[in-house]
Symmetry: C2
Subunit: 261 residues, 2 copies
DNA sequence: GAGTGGTCTAGACCACTAC
DNA sequence: TAGTGGTCTAGACCACTCA
């Protein structure tokens, strides 16, 4: 079949025709990942607008000099991120919403930093204590076993925002208070080679008691946002248990969910 | 090489040797999905215990009569669910934690039903109204365009738990109040062929005003959990915007996060 | 050095959608 | 009927981990 006239329906889409993708086969970065990143950049940059069809995978793969599975892997990763939608018999198109970041295991420090709030941290306690029953249950250790207790007061713009109480398994990590005041706990854990994998969270609210009110510069009875979390590394072992309280007047959880297919 | 003695290191793992997997090639269910389901069942059932190695993918694929990519696809889907961990040079093993359900786009009705709380719903309002500025922005319609306003009071054990205020784009769905009292909004949307895909949520807290306190049988000033959400379908179009308030004394959000690789 | 998962190829057939 | 994504195969080479 000659090339002329073969794009009866495909003519509607294929915004990719005008785009250039630079694939470096000598790079250690996987080809599918290079492609995914460039597609994502094109979407973010607006070269691929919401609703645009990507054109079929076969054409794309021959044009890029890749196999179809490799192209599919790139596309699939963006589908998983919620940036693209595939429809059998139709094609792959850019999602219509202005969805930005997917959900992250939220680190308050990162949240505040991303919001340009210049967070500061004061370490109130950083010591070894015997595990209480609930801490032992969460961390999977024996009751009374030594764990690290960490209490931090986090502020932004000179105003307290949250009081963070965390428990860590023994010997997981040595926590330097100075470093803890300069960055977030999760960042230090990553630096120590711990790969966070999942977390179980409970978010609720309650009124502040006198002590909490004093800590957070609120009046007694003010609404507090509470969060209790157990975080697990990539082997499924608990690496952190924390109970946090936030001034509801100054902080809210903001996140995006992707529905599991 | 003879088969004898070839399992120098593999002997440690391969708990799968004793397991039987029934793959039906005539079934419309994809092979990788059949395998994934049976692996998941084996993990849940305890036949595959945390820490167990699965044995290498090549052996598994030849034993099952599948190609390696197909086996990988099955394994990958469980890795995505957080049930398995892959380590290059080591193998694939069952995660150590007692992780149950992944994160869902939480429907309060489903949450309560799953907790065996026998939820009941009273539809307070169900009518067409012009969109205010914030509703129009969230739903991507014009300000003043007609949208559906839905106000519901949800109770469990005869006690009010939450007041739900939702806005839906015009002509998306006809909402029968009787059906809304029998099930959840998301369930009705699924029945209408709407595939929920993602949502952006903000969870915060504040003190109840007099009106809210009366609705929820709390005293004025009691802590309320608040949630504002915009939900999108699989094309990225907004299909629902809601502002919910929950009695913090009777409800908390409980969910699990998976960290994106 | 042996074994593992990570990546990639070049095909194939099928189910679904739209015209 | 033509075009799309969904699934599947049978290989290949590489990077990493561990003994």
């Amino acid at each position: 079949m000659a090339k002329t006239g073969e794009r009866s329906r495909a003519a509607a889409g294929s915004v990719l025709d005008g785009l250039h993708f630079a694939l470096d086969r000598s790079s250690p970065v996987p080809l599918y990942y290079q492609l995914a990143q460039q597609l994502e950049a094109a979407i973010e940059h607006g070269a691929l607008a919401p609703g645009n069809l990507l054109g079929n995978e076969i054409d794309l793969s021959t044009r890029l000099g890749l196999s179809r599975p490799t192209v599919r892997q790139a596309i699939q990763s963006l589908v998983d991120k919620g940036l693209l939608v595939r429809r059998r018999g139709v094609g792959t198109q850019v999602v219509h919403s202005q969805v930005k970041r997917p959900l992250e295991l939220s680190s308050l420090y990162d949240d505040l930093e991303a919001a340009g709030q210049g967070p500061t941290t004061r370490v109130v306690r950083n010591e070894r204590v015997p595990a209480s029953a609930d801490v032992a249950a969460a961390l999977g250790t024996a009751e009374g076993a030594e764990v690290t207790l960490l209490e931090r007061l986090r502020s932004a713009h000179g105003q307290p925002v949250a009081f963070l109480c965390n428990y860590l398994p023994p010997a997981l990590l040595d926590l330097d208070s100075a470093r803890l005041e300069a960055t977030g706990l999760y960042h230090l854990m990553r630096l120590a080679g711990i790969t966070l994998h999942s977390a179980r969270q409970t978010v609720g609210a309650r009124a502040a008691n006198a002590e909490e009110a004093a800590l957070l510069a609120e009046r007694e009875g003010a609404a507090l946002l509470t969060m209790r979390r157990t975080a697990y590394d990539d082997t499924g072992r608990p690496v952190e248990y924390g109970t946090h309280i936030y001034r509801a007047s100054r902080y809210a959880f903001d996140f995006q969910l992707l529905v599991r297919s």
